[in-house]
Each structure stands twice: as structure tokens, then as C-alpha cells.
């Protein structure tokens, strides 16, 4: 048993069908006695250079555990899957418990407008408090 980290870049045109892909991929992994520890759906991201004339890609990161001999079979299946534009399996000593920085980045991008609202509110409450303390000082 080895621990793996897999990065898969999907065709951005199939972004809406990610759930179907995930189901198929999980089935493929289970058929080859791989277990999924964690899945991070990072979403569409700008590629640093175009791959097969795609400028964007849908990134998904998996933390896996499985048998090295079975990995070859999975890779041959992936090779002939046209919705995957690039993939990489890395052997790791330890799976990290924390979310990857890419995942956090994508989360922040999605929730940016909501965050802004919260920030504005916080600033306002702080100002009021500051005013209060100033008033108290004046009273003293």
C-alpha cells in the first residue's frame, strides 16, 4: 500500500458534468482497490500555458491509498479518457490534514463578495466602540 496524491485537470467545457466524472472515477478507483482519503474540487482555473488549445482547466486533487501495481491500469484508463487534459500521481509519505493552498484560494474567490460585507460591518462596529470609549474619556 502506497499513499498517493493525484492531480487531475479536466476539460473546462465539461465543468458542469464534474459530478458524473467524480462518480465514474471513484468507481474506477474502487474497482482497482484504491481508497479515497480526501477529494478537493478546486474548480476552473486559468492555465499558465495552453494545453490542447484549452486556456482554462478544472482542477481536482485526490488523496489516495492503494497498490502500486494497480496504478498502471488506472493510468492507462485515464490516458484514453478525453475529458482529462492532464494528470499526475505523486507518491507521498504522509497525507496532509489541512486544505491545500489552491483549495483555500478557490474558496476565497467564490466567497469574496460575502466576505466584503462582513468586513464592512466589523469596521462600523469598531468605529462605534471607538466613539464610545472616546466619549467615556471625555466624561472622566
Amino acid at each position: 500500500m502506497n499513499k498517493y496524491e493525484a492531480v487531475i485537470i479536466l476539460n473546462p467545457n465539461l465543468s458542469t458534468k464534474v459530478d458524473d466524472f467524480l462518480k465514474d472515477f471513484e468507481k474506477l478507483l474502487k474497482d482497482n482497490s484504491f481508497s479515497i482519503v480526501k477529494t478537493e474540487d478546486i474548480g476552473r482555473r486559468q492555465l499558465a500555458y495552453s494545453i490542447n488549445n484549452h486556456n482554462k482547466g478544472h482542477y481536482i486533487i485526490f488523496n489516495l491509498e492503494g497498490d502500486p501495481s494497480k496504478l498502471l491500469e488506472i493510468e492507462t484508463k485515464i490516458k484514453y479518457n478525453e475529458s482529462i487534459i492532464r494528470h499526475l500521481f505523486l507518491v507521498v509519505k504522509k497525507h496532509s490534514d489541512e486544505d491545500s493552498s489552491l483549495f483555500i484560494e478557490s474558496k476565497n474567490k467564490k466567497s469574496e463578495p460575502a466576505n466584503d460585507d462582513v468586513k464592512v460591518e466589523k469596521v462600523e462596529t469598531k468605529e462605534i466602540k471607538a466613539d464610545d470609549s472616546a466619549n467615556k474619556k471625555g466624561e472622566v
Binding site: 485537470i9 500555458y49 495552453s50 499526475l88 491545500s100 493552498s101 489552491l102
Partner: protein, 64 residues
């Protein structure tokens, strides 16, 4: 604070941390310039090469 400061645990996914280690044209900056430890420079180099393969960082500025 140097711009070559690294987080404790970094890998190919920390593209923001790795970006100072490549030039505008995408080349990896040598250790004699970055001044990080040899072990960390090896790790940086490897991470950049993985990030390039995954199109998280560019190989060059001449990509079409």
C-alpha cells in the same frame, strides 16, 4: 523580511510562495541569489517543476 521567505511546509500547490523564485521569463533563480538553504532550494526547484507540469506556473513567457 526577504521576498524569498518560505512557509514551513510548502509544495507545488503554494504557487504564491514559489513565484518569487522564478524570473519574469520563468527561469528558476539560482541559490546563490535566493540565499535559501541548499535543502530548501532543492525542494523549491522540484516544486516549481511539478507546478510547471500542472500549468500552475509557466515554463517561459513565450507560451502562445
Amino acid at each position: 523580511m526577504s521576498k524569498y521567505d518560505l512557509p514551513k511546509n510548502f509544495d507545488y500547490k503554494n504557487t504564491d510562495a514559489l513565484r518569487p523564485f522564478i524570473t519574469e521569463t520563468g527561469k528558476i533563480i539560482p541559490a546563490r541569489v535566493t540565499g535559501v538553504s541548499a535543502a530548501n532550494q532543492r525542494k523549491v526547484t522540484k516544486s516549481i517543476k511539478i507546478a510547471r507540469f500542472l500549468a500552475l506556473l509557466p515554463y517561459t513567457d513565450m507560451h502562445q
